[in-house]
């Protein structure tokens, strides 16, 4: 039953189906909560923002015309509300200074590796204690600057397309790529450290 598309569920919701609402909420709750948490001081406030968002969805449901995907629409409502509710946002809208993907000390003056990456990909894939790795990665995502976290949550955790992410966050494709690059580069560093070869 959970295989229905968001659009199908929204159609049922428009017809007054409570279960469709429950499925939609369950499907998107976690990422919405994490997105909201990037803007507001506590999880309690983030939960309020998410609730408020769903109320906004219900109120606006008659006006939804399907020009964007359901999740783009819902997440955009969320981000707008979280930004309004948040105090951190004003300080963190800027893309920020450039940070190298790999520390400059690992290259020589001509830009070639002096401390090249050691191999850990297979180990990561076959790792027995994957839970530990997952927890480390989860907290690393949580520690990213809010704009990077938004992009990586939407793209790599939630699986939105770059076009959808730009629609939700109202940023350009170029800025989306810069933020994604920084976030992924940072997460790779974290994994490298985790394998003890930074």
């Amino acid at each position: 039953m959970d295989q229905e598309t968001d659009a199908e569920l929204l159609g049922r919701l428009q017809a007054g189906d409570e279960r469709a609402f429950a499925i939609l909420v369950r499907r998107h709750h976690a990422v919405m909560l994490r997105l909201a948490a990037g803007y507001v001081p506590s999880m309690a406030v983030a939960e309020e923002v998410v609730q408020d968002t769903w109320l906004g969805v219900l109120r606006g449901i008659g006006g939804f015309e399907g020009r964007s995907s359901v999740r783009t629409w819902v997440f955009r409502i969320l981000v707008n509300r979280a930004r309004t509710a948040g105090t951190r946002e004003r300080r963190s809208v800027a893309i920020g200074d450039w940070v190298p993907a790999v520390d400059q000390s690992r290259f020589d003056a001509t830009g070639h590796w002096t401390a090249p990456p050691e191999r850990w990909v297979e180990e990561a894939e076959n790792r027995v204690n994957a839970a530990k790795l997952t927890n480390r990665l989860r907290s690393a995502v949580g520690e990213l600057p809010v704009r990077q976290r938004e992009v990586v949550l939407l793209r790599d955790v939630e699986g939105l397309s770059s076009e959808e992410v730009c629609g939700v966050l109202e940023i350009s494709e170029g800025n989306q790529r810069v933020l994604l690059h920084r976030a992924r580069s940072r997460l790779r560093q974290v994994l490298e450290t985790e394998f003890g070869r930074a």
Binding site: R26, L137, R177, L180
Partner: protein
């Protein structure tokens, strides 16, 4: 808003490792120009370290994609149902 490289890309010059690692995302996103794509792939073909780096970025993306969403607790689910019913009742009243 492209990252400023310490070693800027120049036309008709080979890419070095430090530039290659900054181009990985544009490469994976399909956002490199044809000329840059050729130079990036030419660099990878001759550089096992950057090939490994690219594999690590792909592994990082895959592992990030495995971060599972925390499930809603039953209590929170009830709260959302209550939210819906409240809204629904308000609708009927108007």
């Amino acid at each position: 808003m492209l990252p400023r490289l310490r070693l800027p890309l120049r036309r008709n010059r080979d890419i070095v490792c430090q530039q290659a690692v900054e181009l990985v995302t544009d490469y994976l996103e399909g956002a490199l120009s044809r000329a840059d794509l050729r130079r990036f792939e030419a660099h990878l073909a001759g550089c096992p370290h950057c090939t490994e780096y690219l594999a690590q970025m792909r592994a990082t993306i895959a592992l990030t994609g495995d971060l599972t969403a925390d499930d809603l607790t039953p209590q929170m689910q009830d709260e959302f149902i209550a939210l819906y019913r409240q809204w629904s009742a308000g609708q009927d009243g108007t």
